[in-house]
């Protein structure tokens, strides 16, 4: 108890000292030869729904109602314990504490208070969190690097949507695609190592990287938003009990993989990767078990592992003055949803379903370009990143569906054989880098759009951001599934 109290006192003391700075710069405390860096942020975000709820969305929230009052505190510690010399390694650590609380269930619209009242335990657990968010130690000696601890690892070349970058689970419960990918990534406990092989034949800067997140430990998965929360998928409450199954705690369920990356002909950055991860969305199967308590029918959501083989490349193309990047990956035996197989009960066939699997090919081609539009900004360039995403099922089955019901019929949405999306991110900055307008657009040619214009202003040590998140288009196409979730947000952050 004494140790905990002392640690808490020390933590509060350090935090107070750091906050005494009236600028957004880190605070440093000299401990022995190596300074301890302390920094972080407090953030509050308010979001208001700007369209009326429709379809299966629950609860129905009128336009203008608050749907998010999210408070976040991050405090980060960094210290180098030993510097690399000819005989010694560099050792340093990184620690981030995260504290989270969403107030809409306590003082938001009545609809969300009612959601909490009807499901107190789950919502009370969902609305707040205090965690050691990241905690790792780095070891570097010559060509060898290890990072062990709770961390994020991101491979691949894509923005907005993930392709090869599926190592860490994502938390989509507080905004889904509305939120930056990095804000949604959930760090996991892993050991990661890199060995720099240097020049090998025509390849320079060749390196081998591997990681292991042991399946025997606490396997984090992408959480599902509880029924009735603002960013849950639109679906009626399940009429049968729902059970969630994470992978078995065995080594075979580990997230693990290797990647080779290097540079070819001094221009082509490439990578090849093979890894096992856990699917972002659980596979749904309906179980028929008359003997089970609460039965006989259950909706079982099972998080499955899957292997991914892929690669990426980027290079500068001088004729167009931009960077071209591409990524391709085969997702082996990815669980799919075929109602007749996953949920035979729905068709009067009273038996437990199965989880069919298909290989899925996903790829992206992108172009990054920055250029001057001096009439609009004579000091900073405009940066524009384009991407074309595609998804293809080589062994497509006409019966494949997305396990979400169409309104009002309740029939499942169609999974197409070949799906595509286009994205664009554009931004520049003004006022000496303190004002950043940005536009993100995602378009599905089958008929849905997502657009996120935002503007951010930095007034040391505060950051203010105003954003609009809009979705339009068909309610059964891609992002259009969430087309009644348009919102405006205001975020204020205090950095230290």
């Amino acid at each position: 108890m004494k140790v905990v109290k002392c640690s808490l006192v020390a933590f509060i003391f350090l935090l107070a000292l750091a906050l005494m700075q009236n600028t957004a710069n880190a605070a440093y405390f000299q401990i022995g030869d190596n300074p301890l860096e302390v920094k972080g942020k407090f953030q509050a975000r308010l979001s208001w729904r700007t369209v009326e709820s429709e379809g299966f969305t629950f609860p129905h929230v009128a336009r203008g109602n608050m749907v998010q009052e999210r408070n976040l505190a991050l405090i980060e510690f960094n210290q180098t314990l030993a510097k690399q010399t000819d005989t010694t390694a560099e050792v340093k650590y990184h620690l981030v504490g995260r504290f989270l609380y969403d107030g809409i269930y306590d003082y938001g619209p009545k609809a969300f208070k009612d959601v909490r009242n009807s499901n107190k335990a789950e919502i009370d657990n969902f609305k707040k969190d205090a965690d050691v968010w990241e905690a790792y130690v780095d070891y570097t000696k010559g060509p060898v690097f290890f990072r062990v601890g709770r961390q994020n690892l991101s491979w691949g070349e894509t923005d907005v949507f993930r392709l090869l970058d599926r190592i860490n689970p994502l938390d989509d419960t507080f905004g889904g695609s509305f939120e930056d990918l990095d804000d949604r990534r959930i760090p996991i406990w892993m050991a990661r190592g890199t060995y720099n092989l240097g020049n090998v034949g025509p390849i320079s800067s060749l390196s081998l990287e591997g990681f292991l997140n042991p399946g025997m430990g606490d396997q984090k998965v992408s959480p599902m938003a509880p029924f009735g929360t603002p960013y849950a998928f639109p679906a009626p409450a399940s009429s049968v009990p729902t059970r969630i199954h994470t992978p078995e705690k065995t080594f075979n369920s580990s997230r693990m993989g290797v990647r080779l990356q290097g540079v070819l002909a001094d221009n082509f950055n490439f990578s090849l990767a093979q890894y096992q991860t856990i699917t972002d969305s659980p596979a749904a199967v309906v179980t028929f078990d008359p003997a089970a308590a609460g039965g006989p029918v259950f909706q079982d959501l099972q998080y499955k592992t899957e292997w991914i083989t892929g690669g990426s490349i980027n290079f500068f193309e001088p004729h167009i003055g931009g960077v071209i990047r591409a990524e391709v990956a085969m997702f082996w035996n990815e669980p799919v949803f075929i109602p007749e197989i996953n949920a035979p009960v729905l068709f009067g066939d009273y038996r437990t379903g199965d989880i069919p699997k298909k290989n899925v090919l996903r790829y992206m081609v992108g172009l990054d370009r920055n250029f001057w539009v001096r009439t609009l900004n004579d000091k900073s360039m405009f940066n524009v990143f384009f991407q074309y995403f595609a998804e293809y099922y080589p062994s497509y089955d006409d019966r494949m569906k997305i396990p979400l019901p169409k309104f009002p019929t309740g029939e499942f949405m169609k999974q197409v054989r070949y799906d595509q999306k286009l994205t664009m991110i554009a931004f520049t900055n003004y006022m000496d880098g303190t004002l950043t307008p940005q536009l993100v657009i995602a378009y599905d040619p089958r008929g849905s759009w997502m657009y996120i214009p935002s503007i951010q202003k930095f007034i040391d040590p505060w950051v203010f951001k105003v954003a609009y998140y809009g979705i339009t288009g068909k309610p059964d196409v891609s992002v259009g599934i969430l087309r009644d979730r348009d919102q405006a947000s205001f975020t204020i952050s205090r950095l230290f």
Partner: protein, 428 residues
């Protein structure tokens, strides 16, 4: 009594001699302000002269207590003899050996100690010398502060970053380093503060010969290394008044071949130094040479008589022989137009850069302050680009880039750090 009187006399004499020495040094420093600006007319760009005339800038003008040409790294001094006539430039402005026509494996010190004004490549050679003068200081590890300063607002904010660089030429020890990639130099910039920018990083691989630079950036928001285009070199760094190409010993850090260079004059100009005396440099426990910039930090914190909030009055301005060089970008999309650099003929460092926009109108002026360092035993000499100040006259805003927090030359930086894998390990 007799003994104490004698001792007293000796003490008094010493005191007198000391005060004379101080008096002599102080007497050599003249305050230049709006009342006597004519003293420095013709010794600095017109844009800077206007600052003195208006009271924006007050100068301390005079002689240094040392000859900076005598405190260059040994291998630079040697190269001034050994490299005469040894190298030439190709049509694409790459350096080759005169004897073989091939790119040299290693260049010691500066490649072109003998600049001749009639040489059509003279200006390119001066710029190459400035590149190698920086490289001659070996691997550098520094803590850099970007200070944003407005005329009305004063100090606004800072961005802190770590700088790492490793040359493969110029510096004596580099001759023995493996360099299969045929790099000319490599460098990394990693932002450490404020919180929302921390982790943003950029790595540049500059190749020998005619290959384009390769730039990679680490973006914390996507937690990945992202390939960058070279087109952004005239873009504002972190939204500051400073572009990536404004760095470098010659006030230009891009590819030499992307500009048309011409010597448009030579003569004398005043260059800025921190103090009349050499900076102290000490070997740290890792065998690296660390500048002791505590005095510089004290100087930078003082508010002087200059009315513009971005000038440091403690800079000592001294007359130096310079080349005046004009650079015009070949890239039609480069954000700057014509630029005029004032580069020291002997030291191969820059003092002033005047920047015009693409329509030919005057836009910014960049000035540099230097620190020349020597250890107590006078065995090694180093120099540091201590402070850049760039003033955007249209917006009346300046950015000061300051390395006084930590500056280490001869730094022990493992080459693996500059690989793609090593780059990602710097990042979160």
């Amino acid at each position: 009594m007799k003994v104490s009187r004698r001792l007293g006399m000796v003490f008094l004499s010493m005191l007198l001699m000391l005060s004379l020495a101080v008096f002599v040094s102080a007497a050599e420093l003249q305050r230049i302000d709006r009342t006597n600006w004519e003293t420095v007319k013709g010794l600095l760009p017109d844009s800077a002269l206007k600052w003195v005339q208006s009271g924006d800038m007050v100068l301390k003008y005079g002689a240094l207590d040392y000859d900076p040409n005598e405190v260059l790294p040994t291998w630079v001094m040697e190269s001034k003899k050994e490299n005469v006539g040894k190298y030439k430039l190709t049509a694409k402005k790459a350096i080759v050996e005169v004897s073989t026509g091939k790119a040299p494996k290693f260049i010691k010190g500066i490649p072109f100690p003998d600049i001749k004004i009639g040489d059509p490549d003279a200006a390119d050679k001066v710029m190459w010398n400035t590149f190698y003068m920086r490289d001659a200081n070996g691997p550098i590890r520094a803590k850099v502060e970007f200070r944003f300063i407005g005329r009305k607002t004063g100090y606004e904010r800072s961005i802190f970053l770590d700088w790492y660089s490793k040359p493969f030429g110029g510096y004596q020890e580099a001759e023995n380093w493996p360099n299969k990639d045929d790099f000319e130099s490599v460098n990394q910039v990693v932002v450490t503060s404020p919180f929302d920018m921390a982790g943003t990083a950029q790595m540049t691989w500059r190749y020998r010969g005619e290959k384009e630079d390769m730039l990679n950036g680490y973006v914390p928001a996507i937690r990945r290394v992202r390939r960058l285009t070279p087109a952004g070199r005239s873009d504002a760094m972190f939204g500051s008044d400073f572009a990536r190409d404004d760095a470098g010993y010659g006030l230009y850090d891009g590819a030499i071949a992307t500009f048309k260079w011409k010597i448009i004059g030579e003569g004398e100009a005043i260059g800025g130094f921190r103090g009349t005396k050499l900076e102290s440099v000490k070997k740290n426990k890792d065998g690296e040479w660390e500048f002791d910039f505590r005095l510089a930090q004290q100087d930078f914190a003082k508010k002087g008589d200059s009315s513009a909030p971005w000038f440091i009055d403690s800079t000592i301005w001294t007359k130096r022989p310079v080349w005046i060089i004009e650079g015009i970008p070949k890239d039609p999309y480069y954000n700057y137009g014509r630029q005029i650099m004032y580069v020291d003929k002997e030291l191969n460092i820059g003092y002033w850069k005047v920047i015009y926009d693409r329509t030919g109108k005057y836009w910014k002026t960049l000035q540099m302050m230097w620190g020349m360092g020597q250890d107590a035993q006078k065995t090694v000499n180093w120099n540091a680009a201590l402070r850049y100040i760039i003033i955007d006259e249209r917006s009346q805003h300046a950015t000061a880039v300051d390395v006084s927090h930590q500056y280490i030359t001869g730094a022990k930086i493992d080459s693996n750090q500059f690989s793609l894998a090593g780059f990602t390990t710097l990042c979160k």
